[in-house]
Symmetry: C2
Subunit: 129 residues, 2 copies
DNA sequence: CTGGATCCGGCACGATACTG
DNA sequence: CAGTATCGTGCCGGATCCAG
C-alpha cells in the first residue's frame, strides 16, 4: 500500500496541545495555502501569469468568466501574498502589467503538477455531478 | 526563466468559441478539480487517508476543527468523485472505514507536492494577513 | 459509533453603474 | 484602460439536536 507513495509529510497530523489560544488561526500551512489560493480564480491567474506577463484587460479577456471585481480582488490578494507583481507604466493610456514573483514561479511548479493530474483524470472522474 | 520549469501545460488558455451553451459548466479541468477539492477540508482528508485508512471518529479526532457535518459532507463528496472508498463492517458497534481509491492515491502525489511547497514557504509569505 | 436534519451567519461571487 | 462602489444572493460551513 505504501509502495509507490512519495513519502507524504506528516504536516497534517500535528496535535494542537492548546485548544487555539485566541481565536483560531491557520491550523497548518497546507490549509492556509488553500485558504489563500483555493478560491475560484487564484490558481487560474497564477497559471496564466506563469506563461507570460499579462495586462489587466488582457487577463480579463483571457479568463472569460471572471468579473472585474473578482479579477481585481484576486490580483490584489495574490500581490499581498507576494505571489504576483504589479507594475504600472505611466503611458498615455495607463497600462498595468501583472507578472509572477519568484515565489509565484516556485508555486507554479507543484500547481501545474496538479493541473496535469486534473487534465489526465478529467474524463475518468464523474463528469456530471 | 523557462529553464527549470516543468513545461506548464496550456490547459488554461483555451478559448471558448461558444459563450457557454446552457448555463455554465466547469470551464477547464483545473477549475473543476479545485471546485471539488478546493474547499476547506477535502485535501486535508485526502492527505490523511494517504497515510493509512481511517475510521470516522478517528478522522474526526485527527483533523481537530472539522465538524461532523462537514466531515460527512466532505467524505460523501470525495466518495462520489471516486477518490475515497467507504467500507462498512457490520460489527456490533458499527464501524466504517475510509480509504483512498487508486484515483485518490494518484491525486495524493501532486497534492503532497503542493503541501511541501506550503510548508517550505509558510514563513516567507506574509504571516499575518 | 456513524451519521442525518435543521437553523443560521458570513462571505465568496456576480451584475451593474461610476471614475480618472 | 484599469479599476472602485454598491447591492443582492447562493452556499459554505459551524452548532445543535435527533436517529439507527
Amino acid at each position: 500500500m505504501s509502495g509507490t507513495n512519495t513519502d507524504v509529510p506528516a504536516v497534517i497530523a500535528h496535535e494542537l496541545p492548546n485548544p487555539v489560544p485566541h481565536d483560531e488561526l491557520a491550523a497548518c500551512p497546507v490549509t492556509d495555502l488553500f485558504r489563500r489560493i483555493g478560491d475560484k480564480w487564484s490558481m487560474l491567474v497564477v497559471i496564466m501569469l506563469g506563461k507570460r506577463p499579462y495586462r489587466y484587460n488582457e487577463l480579463h479577456r483571457s479568463i472569460e468568466g471572471v468579473s472585474q471585481r473578482m479579477l481585481t480582488r484576486t490580483l490584489r490578494t495574490l500581490e499581498e501574498d507576494g505571489l504576483v507583481r504589479r507594475e504600472v507604466f505611466p503611458s498615455v493610456p495607463p497600462s498595468v502589467e501583472y507578472s509572477l514573483t519568484p515565489l509565484g514561479v516556485s508555486l507554479l511548479e507543484p500547481l501545474s503538477a496538479l493541473a496535469e493530474w486534473a487534465v489526465k483524470n478529467a474524463t475518468s472522474a464523474v463528469p456530471t455531478r
